[in-house]
Symmetry: C2
Subunit: 140 residues, 2 copies
DNA sequence: TATTGTTATACTCTATAACTATA
DNA sequence: TATAGTTATAGAGTATAACAATA
């Protein structure tokens, strides 16, 4: 199979382009894409989510989540709360400042992303989103 | 935007899954996906391609191409030939053994890739390929 | 002066194993 | 015994800058 038709190659190449562009766009926020995705998940439900869940959803190793949460926590964007139901688990929840930063960062990230994806129409982007969602099997 | 609808996130997650699976499938060949892609390009035209072209096509830094070609060259899979038209450039060409290894590796890579992509029909994979090709703007 | 390949360096990302505390 | 979080470490991938040889 020619490289230009190799889906694995095309995926990793496209991902590289978008991640690079998004990281550049996020520079002013002090975040990079991985920390941004952790912050986004931490800000969704009021109570936060356990690090184990974060790792599973993001496809990261639990030890990587520790580092990213450490980083966000030092910046005052998230906090680790004890789980009321499991003494081992810690729930990662966004702080008010974290939600504020997330809002600004989301706009920056969207800009960087569209720099690479604007060659596709909104409908085509929706198709791409739908296909990739099936591959990723995004949990909840 | 929810993370599950974030095209950048979906791309990098899907890419990660496929690359991981492909690297695992390639293990017996001694190659990893990046070296595999260099070998594939080196084996296409009889005369090979310059490292600068390889870097551009693969989206890698020229210094990364040096390392990958070193690796493939040590394994006897490619060789650096002097360019007949440019004394600075070196053409990277696959050896007979390189073509042999490539053929086997291609089958392994396809297997590992389909492990992650089999949830999409052939037609859906073609759609995905077409959309990603536009994003990547694959040169020649 | 610009480009090709190279070397060196640092940073980010990924992968593993081992440890602790709780379940 | 199993799981959540943590620590440590090594390897792979990415990004930059500087240099020699050639254009």
């Amino acid at each position: 199979m020619a490289l230009s038709e190799d889906l694995g190659f095309l995926l990793s190449r496209a991902s590289g382009l978008v991640v690079r562009s998004t990281n550049a766009a996020l520079a002013d926020s002090g975040l990079r894409v991985r920390a941004y995705s952790v912050l986004e998940l931490a800000c969704i439900p009021p109570g936060g989510r356990s690090q184990r869940v974060l790792a599973e959803v993001l496809g990261l190793d639990p030890s990587q989540v520790v580092q990213l949460v450490d980083e966000l926590s030092s910046a005052g964007l998230v906090e680790r709360l004890p789980s009321p139901t499991d003494g081992r688990a810690k729930l990662v929840a966004g702080t008010p400042r974290g939600r504020q930063v997330l809002e600004q960062a989301a706009a920056l990230a969207a800009t960087g992303q569209q720099e690479q994806l604007s060659c596709l129409s909104a409908e085509e982007q929706a198709t791409l989103r739908s296909l990739l969602s099936r591959v990723v099997q995004f949990p909840g």
